[in-house]
Amino acid sequence: MIDLIETIFDTTIRAGTPILFGTLGAIICERSGVINLGVEGLMLIGALAGFAVTSMTGSFTAGVLAAIFFTMIAGMLHALITVYLKGNQIVSGLALAMLGVGVSALFGRSFVGKGLDGLSRIEIPLLSKIPIFGAMFRQDILVYLSVILVVLIALFFSRTRWGLYLRTVGENPGAADTSGIPVTRYRFWAVALGAGISGIGGAYMSLAYTPFWVENMTAGRGWIAVSLVIFSMWSAPRALFGAYLFGGINAAQLQLQAHGTSVSPYLLTMLPYLFTIGVLIWSTRRLEKGASNEPASLGLPYDREDRK
């Protein structure tokens, strides 16, 4: 029984991690006032870049760096359209999502069916021996990185000058501008860096979670990240909670399938997505009640000379 719980716990973390990266990246982007609906596309680009470079060089580090690099390029495209050209953020984000699906399928053709030895696990002495919770300390380097990122991002927003400026840009770009904060530069780099972090989530999928390449392997996890941003009220620690909640439901349904139940596996596979819809309904209702942390200028391009 303990074993089963440990397995579920382990899968929870591993299933939650790619979504956590996706959500953290989107939070950084949206805190600057730019909506990012392209997380799914970014994660796919990250997954392919990570897989391709790792299988060619044999280096996981090179793979992860490549994932960050290429997703940042894709993110800069979104930033160029939305921040500099002041295009519609929803449309650009949707285009980015579709672009990622197409690009990864096209360039991933020669990798289809190939596999890798997944990222190895690092056992932390002593801590990994704790029953059940020990599973948290027998993970690979990217899982640890994701948790460290949660802490760093939270501290960045609450304790640093750049974090304050970035939040200001997302809340009231006019206030930032008249205080001498370069609004477009902050937005551009927030979108680009956020994209890079979302991209690590994709790389985690293809390097650790299911270390082989199949087309469209993120299977909607980017969209779940988009809804978890709202659920987490644009806060990194709450994103961790949301991502693991999702991971937990995924782990539970996988175990149910493995142990054979009479419920159709298709229905079970639907569970995490149903959960996402439920989360959206719940968090939108909270937003309506005014319990929001939503950046006040989310979705609005900033034009200094715009007359209100």
Binding site: T160, R161, T178, S179, G180, E305, R307
Partner: protein
């Protein structure tokens, strides 16, 4: 007085379709308060936005200490000691007071040492004699307090020139006096201040010099002592005729609409109206005074049927109609001139003709079972355009291309066109020139002949004193009292606006 350190020469700025500034020049001397006087739309705010680096001028140059400078961004202007308090505050409502002020502090360390910064800011706050909790989110503060935060943001920098854009529009007379005392002290220390206003009283009290703008041009600069109010008014308005009319009261002794113990919240769930009582008599103009944000908006919305009260009831000729008030049943007797005329008052891309029948398009006069009667709609527009003297351009023009004053006339023509029994007018003359404002006043006052009751919400005390039969004063969502405009003083109303009940 010493030489000027800042000169603006030949500044021109065009927005799509409007020449906002046309060859404007201005100079500022050390240690003076220079007032920029002009009607709404004269270009005062635009000129100051150019000076603070927000707008790039099309042509003209700015000389600082004799040398031409480029003010390409607010950061540029701030680094040269020029800072501005905008009319729409540049604050982050969700951030704490401290975090808002931190935005103005240069050379912050990467890791914020909030404790030390808090001590530093608290010293400034207590120096100013203000009572501010630095940890409160800004949206919880009054507008007057928010303005002080904007001023503190300029004080923590080395600001040589402070620009204040109509700072008293949102203050009670008492709060304004406090601000004036502060500005005079600042001037004595050698700072320069540009003060934007269109209120003569303030101009006379504060200014060393006055530069008058009119329709985007600088018409004159006069030095204190060389002018009086009437000279300034002539410069500001030009030789345009100021319409005069005398108030005739049409108030009847019977109550038309009354609200009893109304409570209402805004979108954030904050209480806006709190146990509010008011009777509106048939035929009267009931003015509502108060500092912006004390529940006027919610009152207008509740009476226009746009917001459901949580508690209390609305009575129409003593009949409780609370349940039906917002469901459309009574819309044909309510005229509503909304606060934000472009967002709520018109359908901008429809034509003037169409906008004039937005409330009556279903009437048999304008439509049969399926089709609108376009000829009748056009004919109606012709009549209204003439009656209200609307400069509507060619027939078929979209209403959005009209000037603010003409858009307001379209709205008023439409709302009075349905012959309402109750008119709710929010800030109906905001942004209008004196001529158009006078016209709106006379139309509203005259409409009382038919027994229509008017609720006139305004921030302009002169307007309220001139047009109203009675003036109700609001504070924090409650009624402080009702005064007779012929028997009260501005000071009395000012005290009531700060919450002090009349003696």
């Amino acid at each position: 007085m010493s030489e000027s350190f800042l000169r603006l020469e030949g500044i021109t700025k065009t927005f799509p379709g409007v020449k906002a500034l046309d060859d404007v020049s201005l100079d500022v001397r050390p240690g003076e308060i220079l007032t920029l006087l002009g009607e709404n739309g004269a270009g005062k705010s635009t000129l100051m936005s150019v000076l603070s680096g927000l707008y790039a001028p099309d042509s003209g140059r700015i000389l600082l200490d004799g040398k031409p400078v480029q003010l390409a961004s607010p950061a540029d202007a701030l680094s040269k000691g020029i800072g501005m308090v905008h009319q729409h505050f540049m604050l982050v409502p969700n951030h704490s007071v401290l975090d808002n002020i931190l935005l103005a502090i240069d050379n912050l360390t990467f890791k914020l040492d909030r404790a030390a910064l808090k001590t530093r800011v608290a010293a400034i706050v207590s120096d100013l004699g203000l009572d501010l909790n630095l940890d409160t989110p800004v949206w919880k503060l009054s507008i007057g307090q928010q303005q002080w935060i904007e001023i503190i943001k300029l004080l923590v920098r080395d600001t040589r020139l402070l620009i204040l854009d109509e700072p008293t529009a949102v203050l009670t007379p008492q709060e304004a006096n406090k601000l004036f005392d502060f500005l005079k002290k600042l001037r004595a220390k050698g700072s320069s201040i540009i003060f934007i206003s269109h209120k003569m009283r303030e101009v006379m009290e504060l200014s060393n010099r006055v530069t008058v703008l009119k329709k985007g041009r600088s018409v004159a600069t006069v030095t204190a002592g060389d002018y009086d109010t009437s000279k300034l008014a002539r410069l500001m308005i030009g030789e345009d005729e100021v319409p005069t009319w005398s108030k005739v009261s049409h108030a009847q002794p019977n109550v038309l609409v009354s609200v009893h113990g109304i409570e209402a919240n805004n979108e954030r769930g904050t209480r806006e109206l709190d146990d509010f009582y008011l009777d509106i008599y048939a035929g009267e103009v009931l003015g509502v005074a108060g500092v912006a944000g004390n529940g006027q908006k919610a009152l207008g919305e509740v009476l226009a049927g746009l917001r459901k009260p949580i508690n209390g009831n609305i009575r129409l000729r003593s009949v409780d109609v609370t349940k039906d008030w917002g469901n459309g049943k009574h819309f044909s007797i309510i005229g509503h001139v909304p606060e934000d005329r472009k967002a709520q008052g018109i359908a901008p891309d429809l034509t003037v003709d169409e906008n004039l029948v937005l409330k009556s398009y279903k009437a048999p006069e304008f439509c049969n079972f399926i089709f609108q009667k376009n000829k009748a709609i056009r004919d109606n527009a012709k009549v209204q355009v003439e009656r209200y003297d609307i400069k509507a351009g060619p027939s078929g023009a979209k209403v959005r291309v009209l000037s603010g004053g003409n858009i307001q006339k379209v709205i008023i023509a439409r709302e009075l066109g349905i012959k309402p029994e109750l008119l709710i007018a929010l800030y109906p003359t905001r942004g209008l020139d004196i001529g158009a404002a006078g016209f709106v006043h006379s139309v509203i006052a005259k409409a009382g002949e038919t027994g229509m009751g008017t609720l006139l919400i305004s921030e302009d005390l002169d307007e309220l004193l001139k047009v109203s039969d009675r003036i109700a004063v609001m504070f924090r969502g409650k009624l402080v009292g009702i005064v007779d405009p012929t028997k009260t003083t501005r000071e009395q109303i000012g005290l009531m606006m700060a919450g002090e009940a009349p003696v």
